[in-house]
C-alpha cells in the first residue's frame, strides 16, 4: 500500500457521531412506530366503517329489489284481475243485451 493510500485511509477513518445520536434515532423510531400504529388503527376503523356501510347498502339494494319484484307481481295480478273483470263485464253486458232484445221481441 502506498503512502497516498495510507493517507486516504487515515482521512476516511470512522469517526464518532454527535453525542446522543443513537438516542435521537431511537426516539424517532418510537415516534414513527406510534404514527404507524395510529395509521393502522385508522385504516382498520375505515375498513370497519366501509364494511358496515357496504353491508347496509347491499341490504337496502336487496330490499329494494324485493319490493320491485313484489310490486311487479302485484301489477301482474292486478292486470289478470282486470282482464277477468273485463270478461265478466262483457258477458254481463251481452246477457243484459239479450234480455233487452227478448223483452222488446217477445
Amino acid at each position: 500500500m502506498s503512502q497516498f493510500e495510507r493517507d486516504l485511509r487515515e482521512s476516511l477513518r470512522h469517526r464518532e457521531p454527535p453525542s446522543g445520536f443513537a438516542e435521537k434515532v431511537l426516539a424517532r423510531s418510537r415516534e414513527s412506530e406510534a404514527r404507524h400504529t395510529a395509521r393502522r388503527w385508522l385504516v382498520a376503523a375505515a375498513a370497519v366503517v366501509l364494511m358496515i356501510g357496504g353491508g347496509i347498502f347491499v341490504q337496502q339494494q336487496r330490499q329494494q329489489a324485493e319490493d320491485e319484484r313484489a310490486k311487479e307481481q302485484l301489477m301482474v295480478g292486478l292486470r289478470i284481475t282486470g282482464s277477468k273483470l273485463r270478461n265478466v263485464q262483457e258477458r254481463l253486458s251481452r246477457i243484459q243485451e239479450r234480455a233487452v232484445q227478448r223483452q222488446s221481441n217477445p
Binding site: D7, E10, S11, L12, F21, K24, L26, S29, S32
Partner: protein, 171 residues
Amino acid sequence: MTKIEFESVVRDHQRMVYSIACNFFHNDAIAEEVAQDVFLQLFEQHRTIQLGTHCVAWLRRSTVHRCIDAMRRSGFRQEMQVDCLPDIASEAPETDLLLQEGLRRLIASLPEKPRTVLILRYGEDMDVEEIGRTLQMPARTVWSHLQRGTAMIREKATRYLKENVLEGDRR
C-alpha cells in the same frame, strides 16, 4: 430483527453509517440527518432484514444511496477550489491533521461515483467486488472510478502544493 436487536444495531453501526455520510458530504449536519434517515428506514424494514453481514451490507448500500439522493435533491455539490484547502505551511505537528482535512475536502468535492467508490474502498476497507455488489455495477467500472478518483485527488493536491508550498518558498 427484533426491536431490541434494532437498538443494538444502531449502537454498533452508528459510527459506520455516520462516517460514510460525513465523508460523502464533509458536512456534519447533513451527515447526521442522512444517517438518522438510514436507521429509520432500517426500523421500518427491520422485520425483513437479518442480522449480521446482510444488515451491514444493507446499511452501507442504503447510506450510499441516501447520500446520492440527498445530494441530487438539494443540488448540494461541494465544488472545492484549491484555495479552500488548509494552509499546510503551518506548524509541523499539525501537518498530518491538515493533510487529512484537505484530503477529506478533496474527496467530498469529487463527482458522486468516484467519491462513493473511494469512501467504500478506503473508509470501509471493501474490495472492488464488494463495492460492485453494493453499488450494483461491474467490478471493472468500480476499478475505473477508483482510478479516476485517486487521479483527480492527486492532480488537485499537486496543483495545490505547487501553488502554495512552492509559491511560499519563493516568497
